[in-house]
Amino acid sequence: MWSFSNIADSIHNGLSQTFNPTVTVILEMVIAGLAVIGLFAMLGLVLVIMERKVSAWMQIRLGPNRVGPKGMLQSFADTLKLLVKEGLTPNGADKFLFNLAPFIAMIVAMLLMAPIAFAKDFQLWDLNIGVLYVSAISSIMVISILMAGWASNNKYSLMGAMRSGAQIVSYELSAGLSILSIVILTGSLKVSTIIQSQADGWWIFKGHIPAIIAFIIFIIAVTAETNRAPFDLAEAESELTAGFHTEYSGMKFALFFLAEYVNVFIVCAIGTILFLGGWMPFHIGHWEGFNHVMDYIPSSIWFFGKTFFLIFIIMWFRWTFPRLRIDQLLNLEWKYLLPISMINVLVITAMAILKWHF
């Protein structure tokens, strides 16, 4: 059957027949890097058009409908526009940091691609601390935002960056705790093990109500971590014009933009892996026929389907809710989400020890 893992295997076999093992590994790395960059660009294009269409339909509009069939090529046009725009660097800015910041944002987003299993047996690097790696790397994101805000030499940018710093650092906690609850249930940090453990049912179903609570908290926390509305205080265009990327234009702005979308994709992918079984198809108990039909759907479609469903939910948040105020944002984290997720982790630990889950 056609699948990503077969393609990967045949490439590997083909290369190892012609080259020695070292060159093979190097070539495979190059191919993987190109694939990640390609995926990166694709995701940017797809997510932008998706966001525009989702927002349009929610706002009783048609959305982009001029470029290409039903406006589906609109994001190509947008990219082209951003590419040919002049990338300005303000006079008073710290030029080195100012130009470095968007690349850090993008590199972080790329690094996060490594442990994600896109399909059955299709993963760049199945390292044994995969989940820890993800939560560690994603914290670097805040550095690029702080860097951009500080180097712009603009008060709006600085305030946006400071807000973002406070926000990401605090929401990391509850995101981490909800990830932890699944790690407790699985007993492993390895992404492939976590997915394998959900072969007989996804954690969101197996883990009873505590897993659902952890899932909801995870979704809220990652929405905040990726600076998406209703937690888009770092950008808050009605307060801070554009927050930390006020001074960015052209391709440098596009990189921030792209990094934001790819981050959304990655956190949703992590959510899929942890709670919705990654590439595992949807099975119901002993309905053999149903399960068999589900197995026929390729694993990559399962993975991307679930991930895009989560992305849709995050977009749904954005186009429904108003923005929070900075103190309310921190209140929500420290007074509501953090206590709830701490108690939740305790309950899940008890559950895991007593084997109450399925």
Binding site: V54, R61, L62, W316, F317, T320, F321
Partner: protein, 159 residues
């Protein structure tokens, strides 16, 4: 205990209010019939502006290239920002008397605010408001228009 029930109730009501909002946007996401976008240049043919819409001042001419303007300058006086200028000439009639008539009625579309006061003021209904609204041009001078067509005469019986 009371505190905890209050806390849980608060959280529940908050989440409920958020879901109510999401249900509304979700409804519109799935009901594309409610979309109100008008695809403007495409629907030009079906776009009917009401008769009273004040687009720009025009002077209707009949098939003999005749208009109803007597050159009385009532519109010029009524206009609050000088968009209309009447340039008059004197025609010699057969009986030897001179008659005032318009040479040109210059209309500055760039100054006009479409307030309709000139049309109201006109005693002989010579000017009306047209329903055009696409006024943008590349050269500003094109906005200065002469309302009476070249070679046009005043209609018989209009004083």
């Amino acid at each position: 205990m009371k505190f905890i029930t209050k806390y849980i109730k608060e959280v529940w009501l908050a989440i409920k209010s958020l879901f109510v909002g999401m249900r509304r946007t979700g409804y519109y996401f799935t009901h594309h019939k409610e979309i109100i976008t008008q695809e403007y240049p495409d629907n030009k043919d079906s776009l009917i502006l009401p008769k009273r819409f004040k687009g720009e001042v025009v002077m209707p001419h009949n098939e003999n290239n005749e208009h109803r303007c007597t050159g009385c300058q009532a519109c010029e006086i009524a206009c609050p920002n000088g968009s209309l200028k009447v340039v008059t000439e004197f025609n010699l009639l057969e009986n030897g008397r001179k008659k005032k008539a318009i040479d040109k009625l210059v209309y500055h579309l760039e100054l006009c605010t479409m307030c309709n006061l000139c049309v109201e003021a006109c005693p002989s209904d010579a000017i009306i408001m047209d329903q055009t609204f696409e006024h943008s041009v590349f050269d500003r001078n094109e906005l200065i228009k002469v309302l009476n067509k070249p070679g046009s005469k005043i209609m018989d019986g209009v004083e």
